[in-house]
Structures are given as C-alpha cells and as structure tokens.
C-alpha cells in the first residue's frame, strides 16, 4: 500500500516519479516495465478495483520493485469518456501495458489499439481480443466468479444452522450474477433444504443501503451471508455485529473482518499479469483471452481466522478439486 501519511516521503517519491517520466524518452534495456491501470472505482474498494491493484503491487514486489515495474493508476473513472481519454493519455505517454479494468472501457481500447502497436492493452471482464479483426495487441480477461462462488456456497451450506443464507449484490448483472449463481449452486448441491435469499442494493456506493439489505436478510433468518462489490462493506459489518458469518469474493476481506469472513474468493491477477509482462518482453502484445479459474491459480480461496470444522474444509477442498478436474461443471 502506498503510504500517503508521510508527505515528505511522498514528495521524494514523486520527484523520483517525475525523473522517471522525464527520462522516458531515453528508452533503454534497464528501463522498468510501465503498467497503467484505469479502474472504475477506488483502488481501496475492498473488491474489484482493489483486486487488480494489489495483484500488480504484489507482482511488483516479486519482480524487484519500482525500478523494474512502474505502476500508475487512474481510479474512480466512472465516466467512460473520461476513462477513454485517460487510456489514450497513458498510451501516448509511452506506457507499455495498459489495463482497462472494466467492460465499459472496451470500445475505447479497440478504438486506439491499432495506433499503438507497441503497447499492450488488456481489458475485462471480456473475452474479445479483437484478433478476428486483425488486432493483435489486446488481451481480454475474465474471472470465473462462479467457481469460487460454488466453493463458498458449499461451505455456507454446511455452516448455516437456520438453513437460510443471504446473498447481496449491487445490480443483477455480469460478474455479480455469475458469482451469486455459482454460490447458489454450491449451497443447493450440499444442502438442498437451505434457502438462498438474494437481494440487490441498486447502487455500488450506497453502503447504508447495503447495511439495511444485510440487516433485512438477518431479520429474515439468515445466519450466513455473502455478497459482492464495494457496496457490501456495510452489510459485512451488520453480519459481524449480529455474530453471523460472511463469505467474500474479489478481494480478501478476511484481514478486515477476521472473525466474520470465513473465506474469500480472491481474484489473483498475478499469474495473468506476469504472463502479459513476460510476453511483452518477448514481443507479444495481445491475442489471448484469459480466464481466472481455480485451476490456473487465478482464483484462490483465502481463509479467514474463523474456526471451521474439518468436515467443511474437506468439502471445500473436494469442491475445488471437482471443479478443477471437471467433475462439477458450473455453467452460468
């Protein structure tokens, strides 16, 4: 995490960054790979945008820090036209790899990809790399959210005592829908008597409404809940206050709510990002549609500190194995 609380250090870091920027003209072998992220929400949203930023940070550390991998980001780009200009700006500034972390940015990517043949673009959630149209510098990516959803669902089904499980999403679409349907399948496969109550908040930012939705589910008898996107933080708190359990997705929320979050499906973008960087160094700029799955380590199940029974752990492990080897197929 960037430490913003030390302005002096930041100023230094900033000066350094400026040096990097101004020397960008003189490209040499020693220059770091420069990666830019354009994200729709805050990189501290504890979910979608945070997942890609922290993956990239982890990769940076693994590769050797700022001198090897330079990261820039533009967050909270809710306006598509603003994002579009930002993406183009990064390309013009000579960034090597530009990640458009939202489906809505796709049009902008394809608009400009051909002008920057030596820049690698990646976008998701998506499957289209444009290679059928002769574009070869765009990657697409998506997460098989339903897989971890299924695993979470299996555990939730074993954990519930009331046989009522709640699920919360911002709006019924895309990744949210995938996750919740996988989760529901997981619950039903393990405990057909358990009921999954699904509610949508109608907003990505109204966490007070998220709280109200969470409390409603608790009032409706749910003792185990799950949910996706940044709007659920209020709901997790409601669950924690009530002593219930929570299953997370996208980012690891176990460290924030250690006693409440049983497990998180973590989007681990590291392997994908590493692959994109390696290919970039080999001169390949696109053409692959990545899918984060349990099998390719793109999805991880991270456990919190909640005591769980060995039986649950076994079931979760079994579910992961079944999904990986194809015994269980979760089509959305």
């Amino acid at each position: 995490m960037t430490n913003y609380s030390a302005p002096g250090l930041r100023a230094l870091g900033f000066l350094f960054m400026f040096a990097v920027l101004s020397s960008a003209v003189a490209v040499g072998a020693q220059d770091p790979i420069r990666v830019a992220i354009v994200a729709p929400s805050s990189i501290r949203d504890l979910s979608w945008s945070q997942s890609i930023h922290s993956s990239l940070k982890a990769l940076q550390e693994e590769m050797g820090g700022e001198s090897v991998l330079h990261i820039a980001y533009s967050e909270a780009m809710s306006s598509v036209s603003a994002a579009s200009e930002t993406l183009r700006g990064y390309a013009e500034d000579g960034f090597d790899i530009i990640i458009a972390h939202g489906t809505q940015y796709g049009t902008s990517i394809f608009d400009m990809a051909h002008e920057f043949p030596n820049t690698s673009f990646a976008w998701g959630t998506a499957t289209d790399t444009g290679s059928d149209r002769g574009i070869n510098n765009v990657y697409a990516y998506q997460a098989a959210a339903e897989e971890g959803g299924y695993v979470n669902g299996v555990m939730a089904a074993l954990l519930t005592e009331t046989n009522v499980i709640g699920a919360i999403g911002p709006i019924p679409a895309g990744d949210v829908r995938l996750y919740i349907s996988g989760f529901t399948r997981g619950v039903k496969s393990t405990n057909p008597d358990a009921e999954v109550l699904v509610v949508y908040v109608g907003s990505f930012s109204d966490i007070a409404a998220g709280t109200t939705n969470g409390r409603t589910l608790l009032a409706a008898g749910a003792d185990v809940l799950t949910g996706t996107s940044q709007v659920v933080v209020g709901a997790i708190e409601a669950v924690r206050s009530a002593g219930g359990y929570w299953f997370s997705t996208q980012s690891d929320q176990g460290n924030v709510w250690p006693g409440t979050v049983v497990s998180s499906q973590v989007y681990n973008w590291v392997p994908m990002l590493r692959d994109i960087i390696e290919r970039f160094q080999d001169g390949q700029y696109g053409g692959i549609a990545y899918k984060l799955t349990l099998a390719n380590d793109g999805l991880r199940i991270a456990f919190g500190t909640v005591d769980i029974s060995p039986q649950m752990l076994m079931a979760a492990g079994q579910a992961v194995e079944d999904i990986i080897d194809g015994t269980v197929v979760i089509s959305s």
């Binding site: 913003y4 533009s74 306006s79 598509v80 036209s81 930002t86 049009t107 998506a126």
Partner: protein, 381 residues
Amino acid sequence: MIQIRQKFVQRSDPLIVLAPILAILLALVLGGILLLLLGRDPILAYRAMWDGAIGNPFENTTSLANTFTRAIPLMLVATGICVAFRGGVINIGSEGQLFVGALAVVALSAQVGDSLPALVYVPLSLVVGFAGGAIWGAIPGFLRARFSVNEILCTIMMNQIAIQLLNIMLSGPLRDPSANVTQSAMLPEGVWLGRMLPPTRLHTGIFVALIATVVTWLLLWRTPIGYRIRAVGQNREASRYAGISVPVYIILALTLSGGLAGLGGAVELTGVSRRMVSGFAAGYGFSGIVVAIFGRLHPLGAIPSALLFSAMVTGAERMQRTVQVHYETIIAIQGIVVLFAVSSSMWVQRRAAKRLAIDVSMSRSDENPGSGAGDVRPAEA
C-alpha cells in the same frame, strides 16, 4: 436625471468579466494548497492540467481536441438548462434525460439495424435522441404544470428512475448478446458521427452542438415561441393575461430542455462511445448545470463556458494520470471553483444592479409598486 441613468446602464463594469477569471485563479490557488498537503507539486500538477487541456496546439492537437470533444455534450446539456431556466423552471434532470436520449438511439438501432444510409440514419438518430430526452423532460414538466410538483425534486427522482431504466434495458432487451455484461451491442456504422481529427475522437457532433445553441438562442429571442417561453418564465400572471397558456409553455420549456440533453446523449453515443454502457456520460448532467450558470444562462454563453469546464476536466484527467492526484481531489477543486465563481459573479452582478436599482429607486421610492393584499398573502408557487 434620465440621461444620468442611461449612462449608468451603459457603462459596463470590467469586474463582470474579470470576476469569474479571478475566482478561478483563486480557487486554483486554494486547490494548490490542497495539493501541497497531499505532497504534490501544485505547479507541476497545474502544468499537467494545462497540457491535458490545451497543450501546444501547434505541435499536437490531441489535448485541444479532447477538450472540444468533452465540451460537446456539456454545451447541449447546458443549453437545455438555459431553456428551462428562461421558462422559469429548474431542470436538475439532465443526467437522466441524457441517458434516455442515448437509450432511445440504441433502441432505434436495435430496431433498424444497419439498413439505413448514413444520410438518413444520423439525422434520424438525432431526432430520436432528442425525442427520448424530451419525453423524460416532459414528465416533470407536466407534473409541474398540472399538479405544481416541484420540478427540482421531481427531476432528481427522474434521474434515479432513468438509472434503473438504463440497468433494465442494458441487462435485458438492449443487452449485447455476445457479452455477459450490462452493455448494448455496438451501434451499426451507419449511425456513427464522423470523426474529424483522428486519432482523437473529436466528432462532427460539435456542429450539432454549435447549431443547437445558436438555434436555441434564435428560438428564445427571435421567435414568438421563445418570447412566450421567456414571458412565462418572467411573469406568469402577465403571460396569462397576454393569452399565453402558461402550463403549455412550462411543459414546452422542460420538454425542450430535456430534448437538448437527450440530443447530447445521442451525440455522445454516436460520436464517442458508440455503444451504451453503464457509466456512459456519467456526470455530464450535473456539470451541465454549472456550465449553464457560468454561461450566464444564455445559450451562446454556454459555448465558451462548456469549453472552459471541459478544459478543466480534461486537464484534470491528465493531472491524475501524470501526477497521481486522486480524481476526487480534482472534484473538490472544482467545487471550490464553483463556490468562488458563483459568489463573485453574483456579487459583481448585484453591485451593478445595486447601482442601477438605487439610481432608479430615486424615482420610485415614494411610489407603491406592489403593496396590497397580493403582497402579504402566501403566493401560489
């Protein structure tokens, strides 16, 4: 005495022009302090802002083109807000009207496909976009005219409803069948507005916007319809006595206002994004209000005002990108600009008005312009 008074009216106050500029400068200084607190070099940040907004147009037109591109919907939305304001109603619902206008164009293309020549398709799409926004504006207009429903609140609610409508359409009937996300399919090429300065996305919609502002100006100040809209906006009772149907022109003002916002949506859609996604043109509705106010609620004023604001926003993106200032910090600076500008410009206007008013009050202070029962009884709003 009369002669003195006329001189007063005619002598313009240099502060009228200077004040908003000073306000912006002052706000930027305050914003600079904020940036310093964040550990950023404000000079560098503002240089990035300048580069992003204008740059050096002789070398690279990209920045300027971006600024112009961004100004197109702002101009249209702000012009729409001017019409409503002149008609005596306040339209906060441009955001929703813009969405619905764009959505109407998507619906059109879903129906028509690629079967029309561009020469027909593009104008048709503009008309449909206008119509979509117009309907969304007419609803609060009708409620205002018929049931005296406060249009500010009604249009705020209509925005929320439009957002849900957008979600419904993009996850349902108008969803891109090839992707599992809330977005529409790519529009057929026949409906695209041409781009003028590739690789930038400056598109021919700028002419639509410029023409629309000029036409709106002509409409308001040169035609009987505009005369009536303004008359209703200024004095409903006198308009009624002049035989003007007040409800009709309130509805018309909000309808035209919504239509222009819808046109903004259509132009942004067919010129820039070319498919409807969630987050499409977010924030234009609100910014449009500020632009309209800066343009002194005059359609022609909306042109420079939109360019100025667009430059600020476009520059801000560059600032975020290169100096890594959080976008929301820039929003705070914009807020400060608004506060400074609105207080200073009103202050200057009032200063001028006060000079004039006192001047005139000399000849009126003893008379009785509005006493009587009408003055103290609660008026109908």
